[in-house]
Symmetry: C2
Amino acid sequence: MEDRKYHHGDLRAALLHAAEAELAERGVEAFSLRQVAKRAGVSHAAPAHHFGDAQGLLTALAAEGFRRFLATQAEREARANPDPHAQLVAGGLGYIDFALARPALFRLMFGSDRPAFGDPALCAAADAAYDHLQAQVAAAGGGVADVAALWAQAHGLADLLMSGRLKPLCDLAPADRDATLTVLLSRCFPAA
Amino acid sequence: MEDRKYHHGDLRAALLHAAEAELAERGVEAFSLRQVAKRAGVSHAAPAHHFGDAQGLLTALAAEGFRRFLATQAEREARANPDPHAQLVAGGLGYIDFALARPALFRLMFGSDRPAFGDPALCAAADAAYDHLQAQVAAAGGGVADVAALWAQAHGLADLLMSGRLKPLCDLAPADRDATLTVLLSRCFPAA
DNA sequence: AGGCGATCTTGACGGTGTAAAGTTTTGCTT
DNA sequence: AAGCAAAACTTTACACCGTCAAGATCGCCT
């Protein structure tokens, strides 16, 4: 519809799109700014004007990641029973869904120090995800210890499944897998 | 004592030592082979002869990491009550000790795809760590689901603490911290 | 119309990994 | 003991990377 607004169209969005594709294909550790520029069809120095440097691009990408992260959890929660217990499970399953669907983005957000986590936009996006969890736990009558327990369990499962450990769990049929994960997450619920 | 056996002494060990220091100082993502060589006082191409390429060095380093990992757990377990329950907690606390003491090594082992995880030596070291956990869980009367629950909880806590999330937990005095972590780990124990 | 600033390109520099060729040392063999 | 082959290491070279500085191009505003 609207290419070529200035020189290119909105290069910023195009670069973010290309960067996400590069990230998914080559992983965080092989991520290359020049390759992103090539994929977007611009010169190797073009990204600098919009993002400053590679860290700037990865920071913006991570912030976008946290927004998608919340959206993935929201999908699960919308399909689940509205009681606090079921919502907590749904949030955990969404956490794991996201890690398996976008492993490279997940690693950028949780297992890399390349993004600038002090950046206001990234902070805001990450805090929103944390606040969501905290609210869910509070609704189920839990406190800070329960937040830690559930977060650690969801995060641990997501990270181990994503990186191919816990093979027996990963190879289960989706329904069986969800059932097993539900049991594992439930162990960390607020004490009754 | 015994420098200069061939040209240098055993460069392999010296390179591993330098690589670990570099890893700790600059992190996995800024790890540089040439910098390691410089630190060891040899030419930038010297490592190739002993490790093939950068992946080879990182693979050897990760394998060594898994051995240290088991040793760190063993320290905790030796100081703990010998009953299976307490040993399981000690293993989890050792897991977390290791992540906090050597964050870069932990990331290399669990959050990077730079090592070649198909390498026999690395596989053996990693499998030994897994087998240890499995044996501990079995001794406590648990099965595969309990392995997953405990591993995920220990791993999630270790990863989140290491990367500075879960600040409230991290700022506790060591004794209080251990007490809280013990409670969190206990939630994932085999059902009675 | 004309200039101005944002956008993008080009070129250069230092750093990185690795392959190939050259040099030095070791240790084995005769 | 002498010499030779292989191992250990260095040197050189190349492609790629991130970033900086300078030049070109375009839209917009007065």
